[in-house]
Symmetry: C2
Subunit: 122 residues, 2 copies
């Protein structure tokens, strides 16, 4: 991810409705949600949600596809991963002080290590 795309991604996420849309679409999964459904959940007008969806698509954070009468939007997991990566590695220079704050609370690494040794993880 280059800097230009990072800038537009940050801009996309800096608006309340758009951040809420992204969070909703991430949870919704690859199946995505129709524009009308998103508008309803966000409590905004169709034209307003359309404006924000277009912004998000322009940034690459979400994708759209037509499905019959509906236009279905879904999160671009790759783009989101790229953004996290950019923030951690490019922007924050892979700084130890920041990586340290990123210990995974789910015990992911411990579980992975345990599994590789054939143990059962609770």
């Amino acid at each position: 991810m280059d800097e230009r795309q990072a800038l537009t991604s940050f801009a996309a996420l800096s608006q309340e409705t758009r951040l809420a849309i992204v969070r909703t679409l991430v949870v919704a999964g690859p199946g995505g949600l129709a524009a009308g459904l998103i508008a309803e959940r966000m409590g905004v007008s169709p034209s307003n949600v359309s404006f924000h969806l277009k912004e998000l698509e322009r940034s690459g954070l979400i994708a759209q596809r037509r499905e019959s009468r509906s236009i279905v939007y879904s999160a671009s997991y790759d783009a989101l991963a790229d953004l996290v990566k950019f923030l951690m590695e490019d922007c924050c220079a892979g700084h130890p002080m920041i990586r340290e704050g990123m210990q995974r609370p789910d015990g992911c690494c411990k579980a992975a290590a345990a599994r590789s040794e054939g143990d059962i993880v609770a």
Copy 2:
């Protein structure tokens, strides 16, 4: 980190000069850099850099301290780590597809991420 702070942090990073300042300060380390030096490196006027530094401080991503005649700015590593964390866990719901793109250099969690892939299937 709450949503409100995430929004202002994203807004802060969505501007070219400010993103450059953050990157510069992260590399500069805890010692930080004086405002004048930052202005010089960014190639912008003192008043303009002051404006952006204030925005960044308001978002909590950087901190300031006076040091003799200079005002020295430094990166808030905690805030940056919190933002990465928010993006990964709150915003992206700790989604495996996104975590996967975030392998640490040692490949620690590769196995666990691969195993979790099934979670996203609706």
